[in-house]
Point group: C2
Chain length 308, copies 2
């Protein structure tokens, strides 16, 4: 398996492959590859002839007080994993090439970048929506594969791909989980023995909300209570957000569900010791189904939800 | 000559041409083609096997009080001119395709978009730097050709092309002028018989500044006076800006020249009657040479400029 460092070289290879009628899939990553990333690679392999993985810890998607310096860098192991999975090429650009001297071009996806993670990390998605076009333009892939764990990121990438006329098909892959249901993340490694079990609260909250929706609960305030109760089981967790949103526009659903809805969660856990960041932020999400039709109550009712 | 309306179709053709090893040049325009545009087409023809002209009056580069509605639209004539010049294809996208429902992705080139025309037209360059990537992604050209008349626009496009890793070579073509030296512009048509002759003041100002620089003048305040005097000859002109700037970064040169310098001019002229805009804004520019070496004065001097 090869490692390519320069965009120009990658573009040249992309042109040759495209000319030969071969489909290229790109899996953009920041390295620290885990089973979740490898699932993206396998999906890429199913959909394309050639699989490229990019490994680039993108500085502009980290805020000033975030974990850029402590973000795990495991390039050798990542390359081994890629070789094992049959990846054809790893693209590991030099930061100076992706952010050359005087670099000042930003791609922004305005509305979708504001809520949820964007509220806590104000410049994060500007970094994401700027680096993804660079990766697409360097690799010229037919398809690009991203995890659904980063749901908002995926929505933003779908949007910019359409808005800018990128000739790239975006594929989302379901979240891969540990055996206890915690979503895989390179940041899980910072959880100590006391907090790691508490991280299951996110999945329990998603499960409880889905159960309620399937049972016919449509009022968001009721679902909020169910979610809050589950998250409260994680004693050390500080909830960043737990919100019901439109899965495409990410607009808030405040009162009553009337279709599939995204439940998006983010919590902070403290990280003891001084070897890593002060705290770690975990996210998880699920698109809940439209819900079971409610059995009409056999009484007069003026609630708007009946029979919806 | 063909007219293509959909990005997908153009991308398909671009892929085929690239696979066949043919070089594609794109000439992006807003239509209302004049000899200046046709010079871009000829330069494209010299550099590539296939020449595509895009015609799209981009709404996002017009401000709320600007001339979007009155901007000349001459599609039939433009196509005839393209046919005559041997253009292979005109790309005339539907606005709904370039700005689909929910479109919210913007490309911004931060510093270069601020001064000069950016100061007077605060959202103009955001529109330019957003539409150009769409055109590049739709046409996938090897080269793209722009006029040097829009010097700041060209600097911004060069910058975003490099910053975003576009595999496109940007070519600048010198300004084409009327016989009296006025730079060609689709907006010249709004000048009446009284103002049209006054428009030559821009070129006279550029000439006078160049003459002074070649004669050894390096102090910007002196050059400012020379330029102001020439522009004042146009009795009805309202000067928007007349500035000396670094040709690459567009940073202001305030005191003394020490290398090639951009002189950029913009003036408004009133437009009588009610058939067009209220006023028209003309721009012109020149990169002045580094200047003649000054003959050292035969006196003690501590000025920094001596012998530079």
């Amino acid at each position: 398996m090869e490692v390519v460092r320069h965009a120009k070289e990658l573009q040249h290879r992309a042109d040759e492959l495209r000319a030969a009628g071969r489909r290229v899939a790109l899996v953009p990553t920041m390295g620290a590859l885990h089973e979740g990333h490898l699932e993206l690679v396998r999906e890429a392999r199913r959909k394309a002839d050639v699989v490229w993985v990019s490994i680039f810890v993108n500085p502009t998607q980290f805020g000033p007080n975030e974990d850029l310096t402590s973000y795990p860098r495991t390039f050798e192991e990542d390359c081994s994993a890629c070789t094992w999975e049959g990846v054809d090429l790893v693209f590991a650009p030099n930061p100076e090439e992706f952010y050359p001297e005087g670099c000042q071009t930003w791609v922004e996806v305005s509305e979708l970048s504001q809520p949820l993670c964007g509220a806590t990390r104000p410049t994060h998605f500007r970094g994401v929506s700027t680096i993804v076009p660079k990766l697409f333009l360097a690799a010229k892939p037919h398809i690009a594969v991203f995890g659904e764990k980063d749901f908002q990121q995926l929505a933003i990438i779908r949007r910019l791909t359409r808005d800018l006329c990128f000739d790239v098909e975006i594929i989302g892959v379901p979240t891969v989980r540990e055996s206890d249901g915690v979503a895989l993340s390179s940041r899980n490694k910072w959880l100590d023995g006391k907090r790691r079990p508490q991280a299951t609260a996110l999945l329990h909250a998603l499960d409880a909300a889905e159960l309620a929706v399937r049972a016919g609960v449509k009022e968001v305030f009721q679902l909020d209570e169910i979610v809050a109760k589950e998250l409260a089981m994680a004693k050390d967790a500080q909830v960043d957000y737990a919100e019901f949103r439109d899965p495409e526009t990410l607009e808030p659903i405040l009162h009553e569900l009337n279709g599939p809805v995204l439940l998006a969660l983010a919590v902070f856990f403290p990280v003891p010791g001084d070897k890593g960041p002060d705290r770690v932020r975990l996210i998880d999400n699920r698109v809940l189904p439209a819900g079971a039709a409610r059995i009409p109550r056999n009484t007069k009712s003026n609630t708007r939800s009946t029979n919806r």
